[in-house]
């Protein structure tokens, strides 16, 4: 697969670094408020408070208040997985999780890369040219990342189970499976080196 694509992952990662894309994983600080009785959140490593209604789902806090729009709205009833984020490393559907019920640090797609180093899944997604429209892919990657953190050698069945909650309307499932397998091999190599 490495030779499949003319644009290699290495080139793209260099581009990402050049473009300083990691700056975009920071929440918009203008939404941080000093007032009391607000919700304390840790998002992509940043502690902050938001002033919103208790029943506002985390999805809309991220998107409308913190301007982290990588997490997508798809259905609002936890059926499609486009809104998947991690709370304490566990994949959750942020569209049905009230901000008042958020119980741990939140990681969004913007915070998945470590500094300028892409997560192995992000590299694999590029390597396999997975996306079509791309709208669901952040959710797919977040679900897959939660899987890999618990199971670094997933079978097809493991992948199907972990990604069962994520629709891809364009039908990129074949490449999603392949990319998760490829990422698992990167992941293991990383762990051996790390």
């Amino acid at each position: 697969m490495v030779s499949l694509l003319i644009v290699s992952t290495a080139v793209l990662v260099q581009e990402l670094q050049k473009k300083g894309a990691c700056e975009h994983c920071q929440p918009d600080k203008s939404a941080w408020v000093e007032v009391m009785n607000k919700y304390k959140l840790t998002v992509n490593g940043n502690a902050l408070e938001v002033d919103v209604a208790p029943d506002m789902p985390l999805l809309w806090v991220l998107r409308d208040k913190l301007k982290l729009t990588g997490t997508k709205f798809g259905c609002g009833i936890a059926q499609c997985g486009a809104c998947t984020v991690h709370i304490d490393g566990v994949a959750v559907r942020s569209c049905v999780l009230p901000v008042s019920a958020v119980s741990g640090p939140v990681t969004t797609i913007e915070g998945l890369a470590q500094g300028d180093d892409l997560h192995p899944l992000q590299s694999a997604w590029i390597e396999h040219d997975v996306p079509q429209c791309g709208y669901c892919q952040a959710g797919q990657i977040m679900s897959a990342a939660a899987l890999l953190s618990n199971n670094s050698q997933p079978s097809d069945d493991d992948i199907d189970q972990a990604l069962e909650g994520n629709y891809c309307r364009c039908g990129t499932y074949v490449r999603i499976r392949k990319a998760v397998h490829t990422a698992a091999s990167f992941y293991n190599a990383d762990k051996r080196n790390g």
């Binding site: 499949l4 003319i6 209604a53 798809g74 609002g76 069962e164 074949v174």
Partner: protein, 746 residues
């Protein structure tokens, strides 16, 4: 707007040295392809820019909207190839919406490659000739001894100059006459035909890509809109005081229907894009306006609302099928005789298929900033949206709100799916009216329920089929009665027969009749309109007749094609029987057609021709005693001429298979007294990853012109699967979705 920021940063870098760079502008006529699909679009000119910075970076504008079909990558590849560029030096920038420079900026009908291939080649070749002209001048050598390759112009002696070094002088060269340009020998291609990753993969994988729904404008507020649950109803009053008092709500008001907005990107959808009556709520964030929407109590005037009832339509259609009749579209000489000839074997079957929704993953949304004119300045509007034909929304602004088109600026963003839905801009009309009325820049976002209820659906329909085979096992008669839907007497898009389907185009003794029933529910273009349902009926029934004749399906189907020929000589929009036979045989061979299959499994074949593409598919299914079925593998053979981007092409085919399977197995929209009964994905599911088959894709890269691949691999999937289920079980399924026939996709 991060992705734009990334692109713009590089663009600014280029612009800063624009005085020393090459800026190329060419005006090119659109391809004069004879195809009904060309009438879908209103514009007829293309323009393009290529920029080269003195540091060697090549910026290529991608003119057409991207919805996942890969066109933002594909068209620039063609230019880069003819230029002799190294793809790694190319930065692709989505072109601004500017028809004066870029012509028709639309995506639909799988036409982007077909229409633009030659124009993009001319663009690249012109850039190449200007670079060679510059090199000839600077190196003081003959043009004929120079060639462009890997972002350099190289002389026969081995001397070379980079595109970056040549850029400023190249910009002074005369623009070559398009008719005098020559193109590269395809055998020397280094970009076309290879696998190139989509140019936006990095920003998508890191969450930085901006879709319409991600737009953020200074001072922007958020809006929801609630239409009458029965299409055509108008809002009379609502619990305004209660809604306006809710936290985060700024304003709430009624909008009256407005037919002046009824301009669609495709002429046949005009009128459907009209503003529908309803209640707008404007607030501080999306959640507040969604929460307030849920508390709305609206009094509706439903006197003109839809009374469509799917169950009644289905029973009426059955009665019509029994009664026969209908408008005769094609009359074979002796169809009646052949059907009543006792020497022949005959068969009758009633097929049905439902309305289906687009359910793009990104619900419809649009951001509008209406600015009231003051002190001599006219009214102005800025619009951000994902659209298959973004420029067309200007007409709505002018027709509905009187904002002159020259004062409307449109930003086309990446679409989270299109599939034909984003060719109609009813949601944009709503956003414009809300910004106009509230005086605020607003982002209107639809809930998933809005998105399903207010869709322009793939039309459902019914077909009563009769056929006869002769004692020697040949097709003797074909009689097809299409029972579909018309709006004010005019068949809705996708309903009815065009007469260019198989077997009619290659078989004389065929009759087609059509009966249209009235419908109020809005119908639109849904990935391969018409083809996606006609393929199911026709390619299933051909298989039924092959079985009746006790013939092998491949043999029966290829025999129908007859000799190798164009149905209309030289017209790529007409079937070529030779190419059809080739893809059928290739798919069959690669799928292991004819092998002995284990109990409960089967192979099914289907072929279809549409969008200038010949596609054959073989599905391998397994079915258990409880009618749980799975599709193990789909083998696909495609002839769309030469492939531009192999990775993108395979992705489109795989996606079409998954989409086709998801739709045929699971999806159905029903109307109950006008109201759409499905509210969200729990009632309108999309196929999940575990059901995904292996998909084996083969291309025959014939000398056909390269044509589009966003749609044509979808239609054959449904009949291939039902034919395979027949092979596995002996049971014929004549209804979609398969869940209605008791079959469960696992």
């Amino acid at each position: 707007m991060n992705s734009k920021k990334i692109s713009r940063r590089n663009l600014f870098k280029v612009s800063a040295i624009a005085g020393g760079g090459l800026m190329l502008k060419l005006s090119l006529p659109a391809n004069a392809l004879e195809d009904s699909a060309t009438t879908l679009v209103k514009s007829s000119e293309l323009n393009f820019y290529v920029q080269i910075a003195s540091d060697g970076q090549i910026t290529i504008y991608a003119p057409n909207p991207e919805m996942g079909q890969g066109i933002k990558t594909t068209l620039p590849m063609i230019i880069a190839e003819e230029m002799g560029a190294n793809w790694d030096d190319v930065e692709v920038v989505l072109a601004p919406i500017d028809p004066a420079k870029f012509g028709l900026q639309g995506s639909g009908g799988s036409m982007s490659v077909t229409r633009n291939f030659d124009a993009m080649r001319r663009m690249g070749a012109s850039a190449r000739e200007m670079l060679i002209g510059a090199a000839s001048e600077l190196m003081e050598v003959e043009r004929r001894d120079l060639k462009a390759e890997a972002s350099q112009v190289i002389h026969g002696s081995g001397r070379s100059m980079t595109f970056g070094q040549l850029a400023s002088v190249a910009a002074q060269q005369p623009v070559p006459v398009p008719e005098q340009l020559s193109f590269k020998d395809p055998r020397s291609y280094s970009i076309i035909g290879t696998s190139v990753g989509s140019v936006d993969n990095l920003v998508i994988a890191t969450g930085l890509s901006k879709f319409g729904i991600d737009v953020d404008v200074p001072g922007m507020k958020f809006a929801s809109y609630t239409r009458c649950p029965r299409p055509g109803g108008k809002a009379v009053s609502f619990n305004s005081a209660e809604i306006k008092a809710l936290p985060g709500v700024i304003d709430a008001f009624i909008l009256q229907p407005d037919s002046r907005s009824g301009k669609a990107s495709m002429a046949f959808l005009d009128g459907l894009a009209a503003l529908q009556g309803g209640v707008a709520i404007v607030g501080d964030d999306t959640w507040s306006v969604f929460a307030a929407k849920a508390k709305l109590k609206v009094s509706w005037d439903e006197r003109e609302a839809s009374t469509d009832q799917w169950s009644k339509m289905a029973s009426d259609a059955r009665a019509i099928a029994v009664k026969g009749g209908g408008e005769v579209k094609l009359a074979g000489a002796s169809v009646g005789e052949a059907l009543s000839d006792s020497n022949n074997r005959t068969l009758e079957g009633f097929y049905e298929f439902p309305y289906v929704a687009h359910v793009c993953m990104e619900p419809m949304n649009c951001t509008v900033d209406f600015r009231k004119g003051a002190s001599g300045k006219p009214d102005a509007m800025e619009i951000w949206l994902g659209s298959q034909f973004p420029n067309q929304v200007k007409e709505i602004a002018e027709n509905m709100l009187g904002v002159k088109q020259e004062n409307v600026k449109v930003h086309g963003l990446r679409m989270g799916g299109g599939f034909g839905r984003r060719a109609v801009h009813d949601f944009a009309a709503e956003a414009m009216a809300i910004s106009h009325q509230s005086g605020l820049p607003v982002k209107l976002t639809w809930t998933r329920t809005d998105d399903i209820h207010n869709d322009y659906f793939r039309v459902g329909g019914f077909e009563n089929m009769k056929g006869a085979v002769s004692p020697d096992g040949k097709l003797a008669a074909w009689d097809q009665h299409y029972i579909g839907f018309a709006d004010n007497g005019k068949p809705v898009i996708g309903s009815g027969l065009r007469g260019n389907e198989l077997p009619m185009v290659a078989f004389d003794n065929a009759s087609i009749r059509q009966t249209m029933m009235p419908v109020a529910t809005a119908c639109g273009a849904w990935r391969a309109p018409g083809s996606n349902t006609n393929a199911f009926v026709e390619q299933s029934f051909i298989h039924e007749l092959a079985n009746l004749a006790e013939r092998d399906h491949v043999e029966f189907l290829t025999e129908l094609m007859g000799s190798r020929r164009w149905i209309k000589e030289g017209n790529i929009s007409a079937l070529n029987t030779g190419r059809a036979i080739d893809v059928i045989k290739l798919a069959a061979e690669k799928a292991g057609w004819g092998r002995t299959m284990p109990e409960g499994t089967g192979l099914g074949l289907a072929f279809y021709f549409c969008h200038a593409a010949h596609v054959a598919e073989v599905a391998e299914v397994s079915v258990d005693a409880e009618r749980n079925f799975s599709v193990k593998r789909v083998t696909v053979a495609v002839d769309v001429g030469p492939i531009i981007n192999m990775s993108g092409a395979i992705n489109q085919v795989q996606g079409s298979i998954v989409d086709g399977l998801s739709t045929m197995a699971l999806q159905e929209i029903t109307m109950q007294n006008g109201r759409i009964e499905q509210d969200n994905f729990h009632q309108y599911p999309v196929m999940r990853i575990a059901s995904t088959p292996e998909i084996d894709v083969h291309f025959i890269q014939s000398d056909n012109k390269p044509t589009g691949l966003g749609e044509p691999a979808l239609p054959p999937l449904a009949p291939a699967v039902t034919n395979a289920i027949f092979a596995a079980t002996g049971e014929r399924i004549r209804t979609m979705p398969l869940s209605n026939a008791g079959y469960k996709l696992v």
